[in-house]
């Protein structure tokens, strides 16, 4: 078990370094000098040099990478070109909108998909199964930002149950903040819940065909007992894979959905930074999101070992 953990941990670290190199090199390609861009055309050469020094733009490629990546490790994301404030502070505020939104959506998606998938699989071939499958077929096909717009139209503009957008901040209290995130989270969760329901159902149907389910039935277990005690946990293995992938879709999707609801999250920060050519912010946000994805994959690997004794190895 320890061996498996260390191996996955090493792979996590390697992925992080590789991803950081890719991001760093991609944004190094950008033509032009941020310092010159910031100071305008009439800047003096010595002011430019001083600013470059301040922004960490001096030195060779390798030096710049090492100082950037070293900074990341201690939480120093550098200084914004536009606002001259630490990037870490800018991201910090926004993260507390995007991350709760993604987690909220993940929770909704899982809470809907597990029961729905199990329900459909246990009633395979019935009208109830067909209805669940039909709804998920629509859910997979619907663009989440359009679904969000429709919900705004119905629940915010017509029924006035929710506000059409904006975020009161966590200081306004837990429930008002969660309420502001509810429509966005539903919009994000619907397509993912549909996919997860379908995966859960088909994985469960495959498992129900396994020999050990027949063995369990021969012991005297009812269909339901065999399903709950033997099939569900075995069916979880492919579901976990999808769940891990979904988190990255949810994070990325959050960036789009924030636009619909005017939420002050990482997504809006990225788009503002792109138009202001504040590349260090773009770089940091992308790195942060990739880090989150890699971390979730690590968590999924650990969950595999928890579910499947074959991965834990001999004790």
């Amino acid at each position: 078990m320890l061996q498996y953990f260390l191996k996955r941990l090493l792979s996590l670290a390697l992925s992080l370094v590789a991803a950081s190199v890719v991001i760093f090199l991609t944004l190094e390609v950008v033509p032009g000098d941020p310092a010159a861009y910031m100071l305008g055309l009439n800047a003096q050469e010595d002011t430019l040099a001083a600013l470059r020094e301040e922004l960490g733009l001096g030195g060779t490629l390798v030096q710049r990478y090492v100082s950037w990546f070293g900074g990341l490790l201690v939480g120093d994301f550098g200084t914004s070109y536009t606002y001259r404030t630490p990037v870490a502070d800018m991201i910090g505020d926004r993260l507390w909108v995007s991350l709760p939104l993604a987690l909220y959506a993940l929770a909704l998606s899982t809470l809907i998909a597990f029961p729905a998938g199990i329900f459909a699989a246990s009633r395979r071939g019935t009208k109830a199964d067909a209805a669940v499958m039909g709804v998920t077929q629509l859910g997979v096909a619907i663009p989440n930002f359009w679904f969000a717009m429709l919900m705004v139209l119905v629940f915010a503009i017509n029924l006035r149950w929710f506000s059409a957008g904006g975020f009161p901040g966590w200081n306004a209290g837990f429930f008002p903040a969660m309420k502001a995130l509810t429509l966005p989270a539903i919009a994000l969760a619907l397509p993912q819940a549909s996919i997860l329901t379908r995966v859960m159902r088909s994985s469960l149907l495959d498992t129900l065909n396994e020999d050990f389910i027949r063995t369990a039935r021969a012991k005297g277990l009812t269909r339901g007992q065999a399903l709950w005690r033997h099939a569900v946990r075995n069916a979880l293995i492919p579901v976990l894979t999808i769940l891990g992938l979904q988190f990255s879709f949810l994070l990325a999707g959050a960036i789009i959905i924030e636009n619909v609801f005017f939420l002050p999250g990482l997504g809006r920060l990225v788009f503002q930074s792109i138009s202001a050519r504040d590349l260090i912010v773009v770089e940091s946000v992308v790195m942060l999101l990739v880090f989150a994805v890699i971390l979730v994959n690590f968590a999924v690997d650990m969950a595999y070992a928890w579910v499947d004794p074959r991965l834990r190895g001999r004790r």
Binding site: F212, T215, K219, G220, P309
Partner: protein, 529 residues
């Protein structure tokens, strides 16, 4: 008073008839053997008793277990019966257990489902059941997972699950088919002992006459959903009346007629061959481990000879085959074919390779399903410098197909249009098409039903004498090896432990391992003529 009585049972699945008017009986403490080839309905009869049938199945007739009418029981009633009154053991021990639960939990579950006892009490009784199935606690603690056990050990877990509540009836559906001969003998002994101890009735289902004949008190022979013959085992073999059962018995012990004597010149010489596998225990940065699959093996095959190679799974047979075929390089020793090395300068010697071909076990996995037969069987032409084209090619295809008893027109068909036996003929045609000297038959008849197997063995014998072929016949089945080989090698853990003329080795085995193999092999009853 019979324990299980099946009267005029008929079964249809989605309207397709599977069983037709089947009747049989099992008495307490007695063993009923049910024999049949694939598609005979023997397994479906067993599943009918537990009412564990696929969707769309409809039963008619009567099944009574100690006076209870099973077909009229509710689902809840059936659940109360399964596992408590009737236990069941399945064919495939590798997949019959839940991989995510410990063996203790899985055996205890039988008890917990049927009785209101505490978990620890159930675990105690699970330990007891495992002990009775010869899995003692000190070596196989309850906390083991299935993947930590071998196939034979897993089958013992399944048996422990089935007998944990001392049921009145045990149904075993091909319980030893997936196991090696020695393991098979141990499992059969175990079943026999449990029947005697508990006074259970046992319904033992098998395709193998010899397995059942050794054990059963009563016999039923099935064919295409019907019972063709039944009665007490001792008398039945002496008085088989139905032509099918006679044919089945004949085919099981079939000895093909072979002519021609092998020359004295060696065709293939294997000298002191060593094959090591290096593995990495934990990914590519882990410790390197070494496993010696073939350990100093030497033998030779003479021209025109049929040499048998027997051994249980994992003994190194397949590795040796791959080395002979030049698919993998050996770490030590030398393999010479007609005096020329199979491997030169780390490359397989093409001139030698085109004189050897192989037929594999699996009639279903041996062919690319997207190719037509003529393309499939001409694949070995790739070994020739100038493969025949046009007319020559189609002539070669027709000749190869006709020599194995198929027609030239079969070349235009896809492989799924053929039965298992026909596929093995096509595999043989593929081997014959470049006119090799040596054909390696790697468990080539093991997956076939006995009657089909007898036909393929006849074909092999006929081709061998007609074309002067040399065979290396690899099998775990001593009966088949006896019928078709001149000499035999016995292999264990990468070494040849005994070698000699087939009859002599199998009748008077000298090495303890060979003695064990021969003793474990089930023996056919002698047919009275």
């Amino acid at each position: 008073m019979s324990l299980l009585k099946i009267d005029n049972l008929s079964l249809a699945i989605h309207g397709q008839p599977i069983l037709d008017d089947v009747s049989m009986e099992v008495a307490p403490g007695r063993i009923l053997g049910v024999i049949g080839e694939s598609g005979s309905g023997k397994s479906m009869t067993a599943f009918s008793v537990l009412q564990l049938l696929p969707d769309g199945a409809a039963c008619s007739g009567r099944i009574t277990l100690s006076g209870k009418d099973i077909l009229s029981l509710s689902e809840a009633g059936l659940c109360g019966l399964r596992g408590r009154d009737v236990g069941m053991v399945f064919q495939e021990p590798m997949t019959a257990l839940n991989p995510l639960k410990t063996i203790g939990d899985q055996v205890a579950e039988t008890i917990l489902v049927h009785e209101r006892v505490s978990r620890s009490a159930a675990m105690d009784r699970a330990a007891q059941a495992l002990r009775r199935a010869e899995l003692p606690q000190d070596r196989f603690p309850l906390s083991r997972y299935p993947h930590e056990l071998s196939g034979g050990q897993r089958q013992r877990v399944v048996i422990a699950m089935a007998i944990a509540l001392r049921p009145k009836l045990l149904i075993a559906d091909e319980p030893t088919t997936a196991l090696d001969v020695t393991t098979q003998a141990q499992i059969l002994d175990l079943l026999k002992r449990l029947v005697a101890e508990d006074g259970m009735g046992l319904m033992l289902i098998s395709h193998d006459l010899a397995v059942v004949a050794d054990l059963a008190d009563e016999l039923v022979i099935m064919k295409e959903g019907q019972v063709v013959e039944s009665g007490p085992a001792r008398d039945l073999f002496r008085s088989l009346s139905h032509p099918y059962s006679r044919a089945l018995l004949e085919a099981s012990g079939h000895v093909p007629e072979r002519t021609g004597t092998p020359a004295q010149t060696p065709l293939l010489q294997v000298c002191d061959v060593v094959r090591d596998y290096t593995g990495h225990s934990h990914g590519w940065w882990g410790r390197t481990t070494r496993f010696r699959a073939v350990d100093g093996v030497s033998f030779e095959i003479r021209k025109g000879e049929s040499l048998g190679l027997v051994g249980e799974s994992g003994c190194g047979k397949s590795t040796l085959t791959r080395a002979i075929l030049g698919l993998e390089e050996v770490q030590g020793g030398e393999i010479l074919f007609d005096g020329a090395p199979v491997f030169t300068h780390h490359h397989a010697n093409v001139a030698v390779r085109r004189r050897m071909q192989v037929v594999f076990q699996d009639p279903y996995g041996s062919f690319n399903p997207r190719w037509k037969v003529d393309r499939l069987i001409t694949e070995p032409f790739h070994l020739l410098d100038t493969p025949p084209k046009g007319r020559d090619r189609s002539d070669a295809v027709s000749e190869a197909l006709e020599s194995v008893g198929l027609s030239a027109a079969d070349g235009g068909k896809y492989i799924h249009e053929f039965s298992g036996g026909q596929r093995q003929r096509i595999a043989l045609a593929r081997a014959l098409i470049i006119r090799p000297d040596l054909i390696i038959l790697d468990e080539a008849v093991s997956a076939l039903d006995v009657s089909v197997r007898a036909q393929v063995l006849d074909l092999l014998a006929d081709l061998g004498s007609r074309l002067g072929l040399t065979y290396l016949f690899i099998s775990h089945d001593l009966g088949v090896v006896r019928s078709i080989t001149d000499r035999v090698l016995v292999m264990k853990a990468g070494k040849i432990v005994e070698e000699g003329p087939t009859g002599a080795v199998l009748d008077q085995p000298r090495h303890p391992y060979t003695q064990q193999l021969v003793a474990a092999a089930p023996v056919l009853p002698v047919q009275a003529t």
